[in-house]
């Protein structure tokens, strides 16, 4: 019991320090363009930059798929390196900084319909493929091994214990009676977030993309939770939203409580969206900022640079380890809160209470 408390204290400490670390980074902009370094990573890109050795940039060009005013355009993002291509170019500054834009008749920059396979999309596809491969691999293991042979070992056993942990401790505990209907979605969400979080922490090619730290990704996840929460909600749930059990003057003639409750429907998934996005984004930003210290201090002198390099690497290791924990915790929290929201939408009439 004491040990658990120590661990939690440590975790909380880590979370706070990580908060300070991410808050502090914005002031550490030196001659090296830390802003570009950090946000260049955090934001999406049309090509996947792997490494630069001297002046050679090792980059994977990705397909650009755009429907502009002149119709569909599909080409490699390499073509954009030289500037405009087929009337399209990457905007610098302005509202659409870093995105593909075209000029309309009035000469203003406008965004065409852009469904390019960007860095995040490719990472998303790779991570999803890995996820599907892992889970279907486990499922295949079960098909090959009859029940009598006992429980799996190794990787399959690990995935199984994770599945069971989420299934028993989160889904079953939070939703209540008809949890089975929601189990596939919640398990998918958990593993999806977990795999994407962890892949984001691998610093080289197949990983390293800031997928779950992108608001579009978390928005879709939150929308799925919103759908599963409200699509199968009980009558009692809607009654509690529009006619909650509060003094009448709170809901008529001015429907104060119903309005609040109604907004609650949207704030819940909104919180899910922001929480996951901010946590992962801040984690990436913190690690990058810490490592940027090395390059900022180069100009100050070798002694300080050496010391700071040591400090930065030490903190970097600490932050990365912390982020591994956060990757799991955020996946867990996302799943748990989704389960709780779904559980709330499954309220039955309180016959037992009265």
């Amino acid at each position: 019991m004491k040990k658990v408390r120590y661990i939690w204290t440590l975790v909380l400490l880590m979370v706070f320090t990580s908060g300070f670390a991410s808050a502090g980074t914005s002031h550490e902009e030196g001659e090296v363009d830390v802003n570009e370094l950090v946000f260049g990573h955090i934001n999406d890109a049309y090509s996947w930059h792997i490494v630069s050795i001297g002046d050679t940039h090792v980059t994977i060009p990705l397909p650009v798929i755009v429907k502009s005013s002149t119709g569909w355009h599909v080409f490699s993002s390499e073509k954009l390196n030289e500037g405009e291509y087929e009337g399209l170019y990457i905007a610098e500054g302005g509202a659409y900084d870093g995105k593909i834009v075209e000029r309309n008749a009035a000469g203003e920059e406008v965004r065409p319909l852009d469904i390019s396979i960007t860095k995040n999309v490719l990472a998303l596809i790779i991570n999803s493929a890995i996820l599907v491969w892992i889970i279907l691999g486990c499922a295949r293991w079960y098909k090959k091994h009859p029940v009598e042979n006992g429980a799996p070992k190794g990787g399959v056993g690990m995935i199984e214990s994770l599945v069971l942990m989420v299934y028993n401790d989160v889904i079953k505990a939070c939703i209540g009676p008809d949890y089975q209907k929601y189990a596939p979605y919640l398990l998918t969400a958990f593993f999806f977030v977990l795999v994407n979080n962890l892949m984001g922490l691998i610093p080289f090619f197949p990983g390293g993309a800031n997928v779950t730290g992108n608001i579009a990704i978390t928005l879709v996840l939150a929308l799925f939770t919103f759908f599963f929460t409200n699509a199968f909600a009980t009558k009692e749930y809607w009654k509690e939203v529009f006619w909650p059990e509060v003094p009448v003057w709170l809901k008529a003639p001015i429907p104060m409580m119903p309005v609040i409750e109604f907004f609650g429907l949207f704030t819940k998934p909104f919180a899910l969206m922001i929480r996951l996005f901010a946590n992962i984004m801040a984690g990436h930003a913190a690690i990058l900022s810490l490592l940027a210290i090395i390059f900022i201090t180069v100009k100050i002198g070798p002694l300080i640079n050496g010391t700071m390099t040591f400090v930065s690497v030490a903190f970097g290791i600490f932050m990365t380890a912390l982020e591994v924990l956060v990757a799991f915790i955020q996946a867990y929290v996302f799943t748990m809160l989704s389960a709780v929201f779904i559980g709330l939408s499954r309220v039955k009439e309180k016959e037992e209470k009265e």
């Binding site: 279907l136 189990a183 979605y185 998918t188």
Partner: protein
């Protein structure tokens, strides 16, 4: 910086990719795993139950065996006891019978001996009487030549008779 504005392209791909992943995993992934785990749980439960039953049966068999053994032992003791009793009884009966028979034989013997004795005595008596009579005859025949002596004899005889009848 468009950090908080979701990019439509990424949104589109996320919906597509997550939709596919969700479909695949929800259809072929998690239900299989969960079903197998449930099946395994049922299997383990059943195995445990069967083991418990087997154990109980084994214990039962043991108890049954013990019971049968005890019964057999009791039966054995009972049979031995009854055999002993029967033997003793037979022996006692035989003894009794033998004694009775002996007694009976003895009695018969005695009776026979008695009878024999009596008949022998009677015989002897008769013989003695005959012999006495013969002797008396002879004596008388020799002695009765003389009248006086006859009278004396008679009177002596009468005396004797009187005396003996007293």
């Amino acid at each position: 910086m468009g950090l908080l504005t979701p990019d439509p392209g990424l949104l589109f791909w996320m919906v597509v990719v997550f939709g596919i992943v969700f479909f695949l995993l929800a259809k072929f992934g998690f239900p299989v795993i969960i079903k197998m785990v449930d099946d395994r749980k049922t299997y383990i439960d059943n195995s445990l139950k069967a083991a418990r039953e087997a154990n109980a049966q084994l214990a039962n068999v043991k108890a049954e065996g013990e019971k049968i053994l005890t019964q057999a032992r009791e039966e054995q003791a009972r049979i031995l006891k009854s055999a002993t009793e029967t033997r003793d009884k037979i022996i006692r009966d035989a003894q009794d019978k033998a004694r009775l028979e002996g007694e009976r034989l003895m009695e018969e013997m005695k009776k026979q001996i008695e009878t024999e004795k009596e008949s022998a005595i009677r015989d002897i008596r008769r013989q003695v009487a005959l012999i006495s009579v013969g002797v008396a005859e002879k004596v008388i025949r020799t002695k009765l030549a003389d009248g006086k002596e006859q009278t004396e004899l008679i009177s002596r005889l009468v005396d004797e008779m009187v005396e003996s009848s007293k």
